[in-house]
Subunit: 199 residues, 2 copies
Amino acid sequence: MTVKSKDSRPGGRSARVRAAVHRAVVELVQEVGADNVTIPAVARRAGVNPSSVYRRWGTAPALLADVADQRQDEEAPELLGDLREDLERAAVWTLTDLSRPGGVAFFRAEVAPDVDERRAGLRACLERVSARFQAPLAAAAERGEPVPALERVLDRVVAPLYFRVVFSVPETDEQYARDLVAELCAPGRDAAPGDRGHR
Amino acid sequence: MTVKSKDSRPGGRSARVRAAVHRAVVELVQEVGADNVTIPAVARRAGVNPSSVYRRWGTAPALLADVADQRQDEEAPELLGDLREDLERAAVWTLTDLSRPGGVAFFRAEVAPDVDERRAGLRACLERVSARFQAPLAAAAERGEPVPALERVLDRVVAPLYFRVVFSVPETDEQYARDLVAELCAPGRDAAPGDRGHR
DNA sequence: TGACTAACGCAAAGATCACTGCTTTAGTCG
DNA sequence: CGACTAAAGCAGTGATCTTTGCGTTAGTCA
């Protein structure tokens, strides 16, 4: 059986509706913010009946989470074999992913759902991000190189990125993401992140 | 004119209503989550008419933000004169503040409001947190000691704390908060945060 | 003490959302 | 091609939420 996961009838209307709804969600999240995205609004924009959306996704948070899920499974990284370079790529990827319109909003949406699903959403979100960095780490470890613990990467690279994006700290760009990795890999040798003329 | 900021009639009913509403908000945020806090529910619990709440705060996010504001202005730190110790206290304070029931929820609430107020709420939130660390830094600088940049403290201490609390990473406790500061002040000398038998 | 008024309570009306039986559409498969 | 059925559309219902006009309460100040 060719597993396409969901949609027992992937070949037509069902898929079209899903696509239209997803597009509508992305647009609305950008326009009015994740908190103000309601199912009727999404349905209107998607040219779909609200009841269809209710039946498929149930609640707005669930819909948001679904879109967020699908959104991050699109791209696939490639390993170069150099730990620092690969980590930098993962960092830049994370930053890009977080910076695009609605990026933080989706992050927030996934963190939001009610207590029972919440832990699950959090785990999934954290593990997706972790996976990006764990791949390079595992590869380097296999090559016999000394590697920092994943927790350390999260603290020193991922956490600052999230924090700065959420708070809209200026000068949080790709160069900064690379600097974070650089300082993690070669502490004290390079300039500290942000030491490039921040007036 | 004795400026008491808000409330042109601070001496009675108005203040009581505000207190009752604030208490109700805190309780509800803990019980049902910040997203499910509605104005009618708050009003019911506070024994107040919904219209009063609507007239004073307008929307639920605005109410949440107001409560979050008032919540953090309660305590006042004290400086000991030792940079590292003072930073550790600030870190522990931040963690405690974030960990108490509804702490993250309030953080999220303040980040949420619609685009126009959002930047303001973010700035305020960031500046409040920054202030906790800037005081020790300024004091140490005045004493002629070398001090790290505030941005660096945010990246290395505050960001990981926020990140780990939001994602419910285990073993994120006071000891861990101190370790973050320790590693910032004396890089490489002490054990890296988390290196205390994390199996 | 008594007039003044900001803020609250009350109630009604309108809007939106969430849900559900039933009908219709459109892929799927023999 | 024709029967089958998963999914979408439609329409009606109940439950909140939100807003607004108006009367009432309770601090404030001369």
